[in-house]
Amino acid sequence: MYIQRIRVEKFRKLVAPVEIAGLPPGMAVIGGDNEEGKSTLLQALRSAFFDRHGLSGQGAAAMQPLGQKVAPEVEVDFHLAGHDYRLKKRFCHRAAARLEGPDGVLEDEAAEDALQGLLGFERPGRGASDTLHHGLWGLLWVSQGTTFAPVEPSEGARHALGEALEDDVGQVLGGAIGQQLLQLFGDWRDRYWGRSGRPVQELKKAAEASTEHGEALIAARRRLADYDDLLQQMERVGVELARFHSEERLAEMRSRHSAAAARAAELKGLKEALREAKARRETAALHLQQAERHWTTRQELAQAAREARQDVTDLTVRDEALKATLQTQEGALAESAAALEQARAGREAARREERRLGLLIRRRELEDEQRRLTDQRNKARAAREAAAAARREAAGLTVEADGVAALRGAEGNLARATDRLSAAATEVTVAVAVPLEITGDAVPLDSGYRVTGQAELELAGVGRIGIRAGGTDLPALQQALAEAGEGRAGLLERLGVTGLAQAERQLARKGELQGAATYQESLVEVFAPQGLDALEERLTDIAAGLAGLPEGEDEGGLEVLRDAHHAARQALEEQERVVSAAEGRHGEGRDKVQGAREESTRIQGRLRERLAQAERVDKRLVEEREEVGDGELARRVAEQRAARDAADSALQAAETAVANLDPEEVQQAVADAGRAVARTEKQLQDLETRHGELRAALRALGQQGLAEQVVELERKAAEAERRHRALEREATAVRLVAEALEEAARNAREAYLQPLLGRLQPYLDAVFPGARPVIGETLEMAGLARGHEEGFEQLSIGAREQLAILTRLAFADLLAQEGESPPVILDDALVYADEGRFETMKALLSRSARRHQVLILTCRPREYLSLGAEQFRLYGWGATAGGPPR
């Protein structure tokens, strides 16, 4: 289909008639300046084709020029399916429609219906149509400012495309029923399943209800099971209680307890008897003990009487014998006393002789010592005096070794100072014949002088010669010499000598004197080692001792005296031994006498004591026997022993009786039986209590109608589960249907799109090399795939515009190939393309225009000159087409 001519009058901006005629089947460029009415021309075309002539209201008013109540008119000549048509519509006033075609002329509604049948668009219910109603025209006619908008075919356009493409893809789209089923099962599935595949809404509620009822049923069954459990418990308790009563268990326990208690009572009696037997046995034992004690005491008393009498007899005999012995011993004692007296007299005579000789010897010895010590004293006195004289003379000499040594040093210093001065002095040799005199510091030498300072040599008759010594540091040498001389002089004065030689002689003499004194003093020590005073004191003592000693006769020398004295000492010692022997014998005799006397005294005392005791015992024995005789006492002992033996037997029998009953076992049996009774009573009580509790619990539970609750819940749970199962089965099936339909539809759409993609891809290769189109489920252009998918809105505005145009060209190419395509009309397109893309797009538009009509409305027609397409220009009245714009 292509448009051949357009004429517009009183339509919006195009008030004056405008006509463009001679439009070719291919590409045509319609130029017009801004505000000249290009977009109005496109709108007029839409109104002519798609708005009913009887349109009123705002839709109709919008067609009128601003402020003018006129009747807009549009006239279009077009070629469709091998026939030419002329459509003419007048709006608002005396609105009319007219369609001229191969079937003749149709007016108004007939024209409208025929037109709709030819072009296949929809009509709005009321008001003006919009692009949604225009089907393919709406897709391929692009208004100014919308060329970069997404290409989203309306349902009508898709329908038209589907119809047009049927030859290519057959019935793959499933027609209206397919779409209905797709929609139906999709919506149906969404009612049951969420996007994540989980149940939602009704299905979810059904599942929850099923679970909820199931849980409630489980809980109710649990309560019922509890009831059954209680019932069983009660049955067991009942059986146990019945058994208790039928077996008379408690009575038996009590009977056993009574038997045990009886045995315990018997045991108690036996124990009492045992205790009494023990007491009787103890009493018998005490009585026997008492009788035996009486018997023993009597026997002991008789024995004591016998023993006392025997003692008296024995002591009397011994006293007599002792008296005879004492008499003999006293005679011997008197004899030993006389012998002792004699021996002591002989010893005294010997002691006096020995003493006299000893004193004589002492006197002789003292006299010899007195002589020796006197001699020593005299010698010591002489030596002490000689030593004192030598010490005094030495003290008169004042020189000392240190002073002499210092003087020797001073002499040396003076000699060295003199030598240094001499060495530094000027020697003046004089060999003149005239006397001469020299003054000043000059020392005469053998053949001249040595001048050590200033000197003046006066030569008689000749004159004076001044000499000045010029040695190095001569004044200092002179000063040292003077100081050395002063030092020596001082020492001589201190030592009191004239020179060093005198000093050394005096020092030697002083040494000799001190040596002599020391020698004499050592002699004093030899003669009087303890000192002279001690020696004098000893001599005084000796003199005193001699004065106390008797003068002896000349009885020989000291040795003779000593021999005599020795003999006298031996005689004395012999006398001492004699006395000692006599004293021993006398003492021994005296001791015996003394012992005999003491023994005699003791025996006599003992005799008196035992005699008195024998009398007392005899008396007591007589008295006691008078009271109870010995025979009676013996009888009593025998009697008590028999009684004790009887008690022993009785005790043993009682112990055997108690032991035979096993007291521990009896007590244990009583305790066990008591506990058994208590336990049994407690068990019975517990059972009865439990029975009562169970009965109450069961009755309470029974009243609740648990069985009916379970039945009711089973019913509800079964219903809920059945409902859920049915719904789930339906939902699963619905989901399967929906998935299968969607999968099949997707496959069909892909098959459907294949021809479109086959036509679009070459265009894309020219403008977007390497890109593939992304077409959505409703045939909308969703974007481009260039390595990754880019959504349409993510593309630049220029790319969007180019992609949108190319998509429309592909649609139109496809439609043209299948039969008829509406013209592609682009109003002010490609305004965002760069120069390169613009040129490419122009070439593609031109290529596409070989298959169908392409009308380009532009304010820059010159830019399309290179295509060689026919160009038209909008003008006012009289404007027409053909040839280049003027």
Partner: protein
């Protein structure tokens, strides 16, 4: 000379019994009906002019039915003024604490209702009946509780009627429970005029004097001859009893198996359902479908089933054995449906691979497609 005696023999009321396989209100209705049937029994007793009604155990389904249920049962009994003798069965054994003790504690038992809780001869006032009960005092008794009947002495001229709940030894089918044995010859050995038994839910004659009454209201699919009570008439002691079966059930339970192979089988199915008889709302039906249907036939079957679900009190359909396969006609019908046919092919493949839901899905798709084509 004793007068003839007539009594109604019933058992296994199991009041409070639930019906887990019948969900919702329909299950509740079945449960409630058991109570209503007690009223029906009272009416039968009045109509038949019986001297007494003997209930051979399992009056209640559980010991834990509510007090209200106990009272409601007692209220139903008031419709027959004659004596009722209730025997504890295994479901309502005379335990130390039981529905019977609760009834006493509630004071809800009418004077004409006798609970035979102990094995003692019960003389019913105004009749020549001596009831020899064998009440269960536990759920399960290993011994034959009717053994004492033989030694029980009754005055001459009275009717000795035994009342027991259990299984006749070596008589009942294999599926019967083996608890609580009753000697098969008990009526003869104990000199009974009649032995009224409970526990088996179908009406069953053991011998001329020994009968199971069965439950008066059918409660399961597999019972044999349920839903009756027995009117027993004895002309005199030792006389052969006359036993008449009276239907008392409201609901009738059926199990149907139907194989679908061709289109006509759907109509046959409907005929079989119709053959259950009016009124249809008293039928409880378990229908098992087997065979193979086409998609179109399956839609028709579903239509029939939906209609009968509404007619029957309860229709339970097990179609797990029924395969749905697309026929050539099914496929032809979708030939020009574009991707819808492709979707059907996908579902067929998944069904053939063993995905159970894919069969439903295919059927569903076909039904919707067909509906739209028809529209």
């Amino acid at each position: 000379m004793p007068m003839a005696v007539r009594f109604l023999h019933t058992a296994d009321w199991q009041i409070g019994k639930g019906f887990g396989t019948v969900p919702g209100d329909k299950g509740a209705a079945l449960r409630n009906q058991r109570l209503e049937t007690v009223g029906r029994l009272a009416d039968v007793a009045n109509q038949q002019g019986v001297d007494a009604v003997l209930v051979a155990g399992d009056v209640f389904d559980a010991q834990t039915v509510s007090d209200e249920t106990l009272r409601r049962v007692m209220e139903k009994l008031r419709r027959f003024a004659g004596p009722w003798v209730m025997l504890p069965g295994n479901h309502d054994a005379a335990l130390a604490e039981s529905v019977w003790t609760r009834l006493e504690a509630l004071g809800a038992r009418p004077d004409n209702v006798h609970a035979a809780l102990t094995p003692d001869i019960l003389r019913l006032p105004g009749t020549d009946l001596a009831i020899l009960p064998a009440p269960l005092q536990r759920r399960h008794e290993p011994a034959d509780l009717t053994a004492w009947f033989a030694a029980a002495e009754t005055p001459p001229g009275v009717f000795r009627v035994g009342l027991a709940h259990g299984s006749i030894t070596d008589f009942l089918p294999a599926e019967a429970e083996r608890h609580n044995p009753v000697e098969r010859t008990r009526a003869a050995t104990a000199g009974l005029d009649y032995l009224a038994l409970g526990d088996w839910h179908g009406t069953l004659r053991v011998d001329g004097r020994t009968w199971y009454a069965g439950t008066p209201e059918t409660d399961r699919f597999r019972s044999r001859a349920p839903g009756n009570a027995l009117v027993v008439e004895l002309d005199g002691p030792g006389a052969e009893p006359r036993v008449e079966t009276v239907s008392t059930t409201r609901f009738h339970w059926h199990t149907l198996e139907h194989r679908l192979a061709e289109a006509a089988d759907v109509a046959v199915l409907e005929d079989r359902l119709k053959a259950l008889g009016e009124p249809f709302d008293r039928h409880v039906v378990a229908l098992t479908l087997t065979g193979v249907t086409g998609l179109a036939q399956r839609v028709a079957v579903d239509g029939v089933l939906e209609a009968w679900r509404a007619r029957c009190h309860f229709l339970d359909v097990d179609d797990s054995g029924l395969a749905t396969a697309a026929t050539e006609a099914d496929l032809a019908a979708m030939e020009d449906s574009g991707f819808v046919a492709d979707a059907a092919a996908i579902l067929r493949r998944r069904r053939d691979e063993g995905e159970a839901a894919a069969g439903d899905a295919l059927q569903m798709l076909f039904a919707e497609y067909r509906r739209r084509r028809t529209d």
